[in-house]
Each structure stands twice: as structure tokens, then as C-alpha cells.
Amino acid sequence: MTLAVGAERVVALLLRQLYLYRHSLIRSLEIVYWPVMDLLVWGFVSVYVARLQGGGAAAIAFLVGAMILWDVFYRVQQAISVSFLEDVWTRNLPNVFVTPISTAEYIGATMLLGVMKVAVIGVLLAVLAWLLYAFNIFRYGLPLLPFVLNLILGGWGMGILTTALILRYGQGAEALAWALAFLFQPFSAVFYPVRILPPVLQHVAWLLPTTYVFEGMRAVLGGRGLPWAYVGWGALANALLLAGAGCVFAWVMEIARDQGLLLRVEG
């Protein structure tokens, strides 16, 4: 019974997002606009590099595949923090938090929203990559799935962390919703192997959960099979990131309830 009531509250928040998208064509198009623009730029860059270096299909696969997987991480993270910002912008946080919703249900709804958005974007990008660059990500099928799941875990972690920072430091910190994930990008070896990085940065790279995903992806796309070690280490690192983010969020909620931040987060 309690679970059903909790699920209904999660549905309520998802419904609200659905209504928002239904009302605004621009908002709906924005879900796919940036990913498609990224795909076009990176796709044509990879075609150019392939022709220049004679790398052929492998170069296209590495770059386009990396771009699509990076988008999974980034969009999941962004869905969580932007959903929270919606409530800040419309000054709706007190309205929501005087209903019986729990913090876990609130965050759970934004996590689900992230997965739903990524499903839409992922399918669209995969189809476009196949049509434009003859890159069929589904050809690699199941071996890429553990990495996608890893990225969703990591995206949730980063999204919750970003939201905690916005709640703690107010609307002035909202740029983090778009910027924080990119802190990971140069060191996660998204578009190049870890060995390209200077030795010191290689140590940093292996501390990031995303690095295992993109190294693993290159192994799969390069026909070297599924590297289970990368899947395992990545899952462990992502689970740690998610757990750590959850702890930080719980701690910030305590501060928020102590300092009244839920009433004046827009400040």
C-alpha cells in the first residue's frame, strides 16, 4: 500500500514533466536538439579523420560511439538537476515539500525521468548514426549494454551531486547543472584512450568511473570482446559515486531543513 502511494507520487512528478513538454515545442525539441547537433559535428569530424588517416570505419565507430555514450551520462545527470531547477524557477519547492512526498521519491522521479529521456535520445542518435555514417551501434548489441547501465548509474550520481550543490548554494549555482559533468570529460578518455593522457593524469583518469566505460567501449567496438574487468570496476566506481552523492544530498537536505533553504533556494 505504502509502496503504491509512493509510486503514485513519483508518477505525479513525471506527469508534471510530461505536461511541461506537451506545452512547449521548443522545450520538447531541446531534448534532441543538442544531441543531434553533437552527432552531426562529431560524425563529420570522424569521417574527415577517417579519410585523412585512413582509419576507416573504426575511427567513425570510436568517435560516434563515444559521443552517443557520453550523451547518456550527460543527459541523465542533466535531467535530475534541471527537474529540480524547474521547481526553483517556478518557486514550487515549498508546494512540493509540504505534500507527503519523501526526498527519495522526489529524487527517484528525476532519476526515472533521466532514463526516459536517454531512451528517446539514444534511439534517435543510433538511428541517425546508422543513416548518416553507416555506424550501427546495435550491431555491437549486448556487450555495450553493461556500459550504458554504468553510465546511467554515474549520471544519476552526478545529477544528485549537482542538485545538492544547487540546493546548498542557491540559484547562483545553477550553471553547474550544465557544467559539472564536463569536469569529467577531459580525464575520462571519452574520445581518446587513457594512454594518450600524461602519466599523472592517467592516474586521475582511473579514479573516474566513466573512464572504465569508455575504455571498455573501445575494446568492444575494436572487436576485442567484452572486458569484464572494466565493467566490474566501472560498476563499483559508479555505485560508490551514486552512494556518495546520496549521502551528500541527505546531508544537504539536513542543512536545508536547518537553515530554511527549501523556502528560499532561489536566493
Binding site: 512528478l13 508534471r16 517556478t90 512540493v96 507527503p100 530554511g260 527549501l262
Partner: protein, 249 residues
């Protein structure tokens, strides 16, 4: 069953060295309408936030409907509601969408026809599809009241419910509140700066000044104690400290 809808004991809130609510204690009986008064900065909103579980007290205890807040936050919030013109419903959704979302948040299964009947009762008929941002102040306040009644609350917390309304709109809202009490025996705990309204509506008032509760009782009794003719006069004299302020209760 706890005879009190609200019990507050030694409630204190400090932000650093600033004491915003200072050792406040009171009770509100079930079915009572209680006006919570005080000049700006007296600590009314802070107290309300603690009653609603949005803010943790530094010291003291709050019980709503016999349950401790915030320990039983979810169970309490399912049985109460809060309305404030300063916390409007999202303007980028329609009236119907907002009500649907909040009905789900309260776990209330109301069909669209029931929600539209509620809208009609509050003079908002035919507005189901209207964007909330396009409502007038009066309509917005009445929509807030509809939202506030979605879960058939036993206690309704209102923060200046008639602020920004014209006399006609304010009078309609007061009429609705009186009807609600008569029909459903809802406990209403509200803040207001409209002293005539408070005199007309409240069974009792609680007067807060600089975080301390300085007066409590039926409006006429409080006026007699302060030797003033109207609550407005008393409010002005307390705000300007032109009356001996009794120690906090």
C-alpha cells in the same frame, strides 16, 4: 485521540546568534480558527515552516494531530494542507494539470468531474484548460484554496490568504473559510495583516512579537487586556512599541 490539532511546546529557532522564534508554546483545538499575528519579522513564517516540517526547530516540540513533527512528517502532511499566495502553483501548467499533479502527490483519487466541481464551487468554472499564469490574483488565490482542499485536510495552514486581493475577493475567501469550518470542522491556522479580517474570522488569536508570544486568546479578550478598541490599533502600538510588551508566554 489528541483533542488538539496543533500542540507547540517551547518552540525555538535560532539562525546563528539571531533568535527568530523564542520559546513559543500554544495549542490549537480541533475545528478552531486561529489567527497568527505579528509585525513583519516577528517569526510567523518561521513558525509556520516548522509546523509544516520545512524547517527544523533548534529546540522544542511540535505535534500535529497528535503526531510528532518532523518524525511523522509524511503521515502528518497527508492530513494537512498549506496555502500561500507567495507560493503560487507553477504558472506553466494549466489549472487542470496542476490539480491533477497535486491530487496524485496527495494520493487522492479524484476524477476530473470532481475536480471541476471543486473549481466551480470556488468560482473557477470553465478554467480547467487555462494556464495558471493567466489567472488574476483572486483566481489564483481561489485555485490555491482548491489545491488546499484536494486531500480533505483536517488542518489548513494559510499564510496571508487574502493578501493582494481586492475587498470583494477577500470577502469571498473569508466566506469560503467560514463555510469550510462549518461544513467540515477543519482546523484553520492562518497568518494575516488584515486586522478586521482577523477579528471577524478568528476564535482565538496568537500575537507574536520579536519571536515571543505576547498575547493569546479570543480577540475581544486580548483587546481588553491591552486596553485597545481594535486589533489594528493594538497591532500598530505593539509594532511601534507604544504599549508595554508583556514577557513571552
Amino acid at each position: 485521540m489528541d483533542p488538539h490539532a496543533i500542540t507547540v511546546e517551547h518552540l525555538t529557532k535560532r539562525f546563528g546568534r539571531l533568535v527568530v522564534v523564542d520559546d513559543v508554546s500554544f495549542t490549537v483545538g480541533r475545528g478552531e480558527i486561529v489567527g497568527f499575528l505579528g509585525p513583519n519579522g516577528a517569526g510567523k513564517t518561521t513558525t509556520l515552516a516548522m509546523l509544516l516540517g520545512l524547517l527544523r526547530p533548534t529546540r522544542g516540540r511540535v505535534r500535529i494531530l497528535g503526531l510528532p513533527m518532523p518524525e511523522q512528517r509524511q503521515r502528518i502532511l497527508a492530513r494537512v494542507n498549506f496555502i500561500s499566495p507567495y507560493v503560487a502553483l507553477p504558472g506553466n501548467l494549466t489549472v487542470g494539470e496542476n490539480l491533477t499533479v497535486f491530487a496524485h502527490l496527495y494520493g487522492v483519487r479524484k476524477r476530473r468531474a470532481e475536480l471541476e466541481a471543486l473549481l466551480e464551487r470556488f468560482g473557477l468554472m470553465g478554467m480547467w484548460r487555462r494556464p495558471t499564469s493567466r489567472l488574476s490574483s483572486g483566481e489564483s488565490t481561489r485555485l490555491g484554496l482548491v489545491k488546499g482542499l484536494l486531500n480533505d485536510p483536517e488542518v489548513l495552514f494559510l499564510d496571508e490568504p487574502t493578501a493582494s486581493l481586492d475587498p470583494d475577493g477577500a470577502d469571498r475567501v473569508r466566506g469560503i473559510l467560514q463555510d469550510l469550518r462549518a461544513e467540515r470542522r477543519i482546523t484553520i491556522f492562518y497568518t494575516s495583516h488584515n486586522m478586521q479580517e482577523v477579528e471577524r474570522l478568528s476564535d482565538r488569536i496568537l500575537f507574536l512579537h520579536r519571536g515571543r508570544l505576547i498575547a493569546e486568546g479570543p480577540p475581544r479578550e486580548v483587546l481588553r487586556r491591552f486596553a485597545r478598541d481594535t486589533l489594528e490599533r493594538m497591532f500598530l502600538d505593539v509594532a511601534r512599541e507604544q504599549v508595554p510588551i508583556p514577557p513571552g508566554r
